[in-house]
């Protein structure tokens, strides 16, 4: 390929794919495989790895055409961690062999991925992790415990960071691996949460043996590799256009309209305040989207997660109160194992409890505020006492 393909060329290839594999008569996996092979999976990836080296901004051209033709999609929600975190990291740091082996089954949804980063003692301070990987020739032996692992019970593969040199300061003694979740010594246990569900897991790693060929990036450079993963995790909202009342304000506004008997002056004031804030958050997201399209990405993205976490919590709290007698009830405490993370579904009580996680998962609001303060506003960082201390000498 010499020239970078542009929109008309992508459209032509998409139509070619649809003609050769009519969605009506083609199996889901087969279609997705053909799409990957045609370079239309993620057009900004290289040729042969599901892409065409086209600008990332052109992906919607392909997606829209496929959606209009009723083509199956690869359910980005189910494969979210693989798609959003593992894939860009493998693309950035993997060997050719790793890229060929992992990207296609990941994208077509044959292999689900999970992420073994957080630990009971290393959440916001992720680099404090204690899971050890000890090298013996061509194999690493891993021992430790991970937590908050969504999809671990479904996953075939995991991205894993582990400590390979405790004598170095914490950021420098970490390496990055691909872990086979079916290997002996990997023990996945459901972690029942505040909602009653076990959406996440804890994962115990006991003498798990990982071949060195499944290391991503150089030994001791795992923190740098993980930064790529985490940055991609936070590449958010992108092209999504949310309608007015599209988020959690929708159900509570509907309840307000349909159930006049629930209305009180105090709840009315609260509802209007939150309705305005939800509308402003929608507009802020829309402005961010327009900036991206115009090729002037602003730093607003760093703040959107903060805004939505707080809004979700306040709105769902109001909704429970609005429902009065019904707010005292809860849908179902049976421990379920949902395949998809369902932020807005089910009843008001569930939404209230689940949204408590919005300010914790993917970076706590406190950490994100620090990021905004330091990277966007340029405020000085707090003095660091752990920077030049060997990990083994840190207090834990």
């Amino acid at each position: 390929m010499t020239a970078t393909p542009e929109a008309p060329e992508l459209l032509r290839r998409t139509r070619e794919l649809l003609a050769a594999h009519p969605p009506a008569t083609t199996g889901r996996t087969e279609f997705l495989g053909a799409r990957f092979d045609a370079g239309l999976a993620w057009v900004h990836y290289p040729v042969g790895l599901g892409g065409l080296g086209a600008p990332r901004s052109l992906q919607p051209v392909v997606d829209a055409e496929l959606a209009a033709a009723g083509a199956p999609d690869n359910d980005p929600r189910r494969i979210g961690i693989g798609l959003g975190m593992a894939a860009p990291t493998i693309l950035g740091f993997g060997t050719d062999e790793q890229k060929r082996r992992f990207l296609r089954p990941l994208w077509i949804g044959e292999e689900v991925w999970c992420q073994l980063f957080s630990e009971p003692g290393a959440g916001s301070d992720l680099a404090a992790l204690a899971t050890r990987a000890v090298r013996d020739g061509d194999t690493w032996t891993v021992d430790g415990q991970k937590v908050w692992t969504s999809s671990a019970h479904l996953a075939r593969w995991a991205i894993l960071i582990a400590r390979t040199d405790p004598d170095l300061p914490k950021h420098r003694g970490i390496s990055y691996f691909i872990c086979d979740m079916t290997d002996p010594g990997v023990d996945v246990r459901p972690l029942r949460q505040i909602t009653g569900e076990a959406e996440f897991n804890e994962v115990f790693l006991t003498g798990v043996r990982i071949p060195d060929s499944r290391r991503l990036g150089p030994v001791g450079e795992g923190w740098k590799v993980a930064q790529t993963t985490l940055m991609n995790e936070r590449v958010s909202i992108g092209g999504m256009r949310i309608p007015r009342e599209g988020g959690m304000i929708g159900p509570v506004s509907r309840t307000w309209r349909e159930r006049p008997e629930l209305r009180t002056p105090d709840l009315h004031q609260q509802l209007l305040t939150l309705w305005v804030e939800a509308e402003v958050a929608r507009l802020t997201g829309e402005r961010l989207r327009q900036q991206l399209v115009a090729g002037q990405p602003g730093p607003e993205g760093s703040g959107m997660k903060l805004a939505f976490a707080r809004l979700n919590q306040e709105i769902s709290g109001l909704e429970v109160e609005l429902l009065a007698d019904e707010g005292l009830l809860y849908g179902d405490w049976t421990m379920r194992r949902p395949e998809l993370v369902d932020f807005t579904g089910r009843d008001a009580g569930y939404r209230y409890l689940r949204s408590k996680g919005n300010s914790i998962e993917g970076g706590t609001s406190e950490v994100l505020l620090n990021i905004v303060a330091e990277r966007v506003l340029g405020l000085p960082s707090e003095p660091r006492t752990d920077k030049d201390v060997a990990w083994k000498d840190l207090s834990r």
Binding site: R241, R244, S253, R257, H268, V276, T284, L369, G378, L379
Partner: protein, 377 residues
């Protein structure tokens, strides 16, 4: 009741190149001629506005004529551009009749659809920056509020009083809304009394108006007058959000600058997490206020059916952001923020007064209730 009305078109929430050029021109002018010490000095003088600065802004840069079509003597731009001017005027907390004359009075006159006659003549003067006008209703009046001025008309002569009118003391013309219609009154005409009041916001003078048989020119009958005044106040409220954005932005920028430099406990106070989080929260509010203010300006510019909701949302949100930013600015500057020499107080006074101007956030939330189908009972 069903789902809320979705906006018909996607608003353009960015700034165009022409808008950025206009911003640069206004910012350069204000940096040169409206520095904080001169604004403070002026608030204690008898001339609340720098007339030369106003002439340059209104006539040379052409800011006063942005909303007015070319055939009526303006630049034929729109609310999006006027909003950018107000952001800069807010950022510099510049005393200027821009909002009251070039936006509100101008919008009232434009809504009359004047092709010729006294309204068209006056519009041309306002657009060229030759004269200024003030709508004689209390500054706190929300769009659509019942503000029946206590003014009566008898054979073209007006009698009555109006409280708390912004920029009335220096306006050349007062637009008076009486039950019988909309009238233009020369401020210096016989029977017109304008008494300057002591305003909370030192940078925007308020006056009480007393009319005692003042000679007036009828511009429109009662129906057209009511609608024109509503549209004028809607434009004022909508673009005030951009002024509030400018106020909030200055407060945040200045607070960040100060806390990076000010040392206590052997480190810059901006490195303390308790302070950083407050400024990061403020940043998020300012970013959100920008989206809300741009949305209102765009809705007004395109005369969208959605404009009243866009304006109500912007006012309900941006008022609080400007006040919060100014209050944080004073607090995080600590002792120096309480002094007369430091400009923080000017911004606090402007922000608090703006939160009442053209309707409080609460009044605008009530408007949202009606427009979004969320009734009180």
């Amino acid at each position: 009741m069903t789902a809320p009305v979705q906006p018909a078109a996607t608003p353009d929430l960015l700034y165009s190149e022409a808008e950025e050029d206009l911003r640069s021109a206004v910012r350069a002018l204000l940096a040169d001629r409206s520095g904080a010490p001169s604004v403070i000095a002026r608030t204690e003088s008898d001339t609340p506005y720098d007339q030369q600065l106003w002439k340059t802004l209104a006539a040379e840069i052409g800011a006063a004529g942005l909303l007015v079509p070319e055939k009526l003597g303006g630049l034929g731009a729109g609310h999006r551009e006027a909003a950018v001017v107000l952001e800069e005027l807010g950022r510099a907390v510049t005393p200027s009749p821009y909002l009251t004359s070039a936006v509100v009075a101008t919008s009232v006159l434009l809504a009359l659809g004047p092709e010729d006659g006294p309204a068209a003549g006056l519009l041309g003067d306002l657009a060229a920056g030759r004269r200024t006008a003030a709508l004689a209703v209390p500054f706190a009046t929300a769009p659509g509020a019942d503000h029946t001025a206590e003014v009566t008309a008898d054979c073209g002569a007006l009698t009555g009083t109006v409280r708390g009118v912004a920029d009335a003391a220096l306006a050349d013309v007062l637009l008076v809304h009486a039950p019988t219609g909309l009238y233009a009154v020369e401020r210096t005409a016989q029977g017109v009394g304008v008494e300057a009041l002591v305003p909370l916001d030192l940078t925007r003078p308020l006056a009480g108006i007393t009319l005692d048989g003042a000679a007036a020119t009828l511009l429109a009958g009662p129906r057209a007058a009511g609608e024109a005044v509503r549209r004028g106040l809607l434009a004022g409220a909508g673009l005030l959000a951009s002024e509030q954005l400018g106020v909030a932005e200055w407060c945040l920028t200045e607070t960040v600058r100060h806390t990076k430099e000010r040392h206590q406990f052997n480190r810059p106070i901006g490195s303390f997490q308790a302070l950083k989080h407050r400024m990061a929260e403020l940043w998020l509010q300012v970013v959100s206020a920008r989206a809300a203010a741009r949305n209102a300006a765009d809705a007004l510019a395109t005369d969208a059916a959605d404009a009243p909701l866009a304006v109500a949302v912007a006012q309900a949100y941006c008022s609080g952001v400007a006040v919060h930013a100014a209050e944080e600015c004073v607090q995080l500057h600590a002792g120096i923020g309480m002094t007369w020499e430091h400009p923080a107080h000017l911004y606090l006074k402007r922000a608090k007064a703006d939160s009442i101007a053209y309707g409080t956030a609460g009044r605008h939330r009530e408007a949202v209730a009606g427009l979004a189908g969320l009734p009180a009972s």
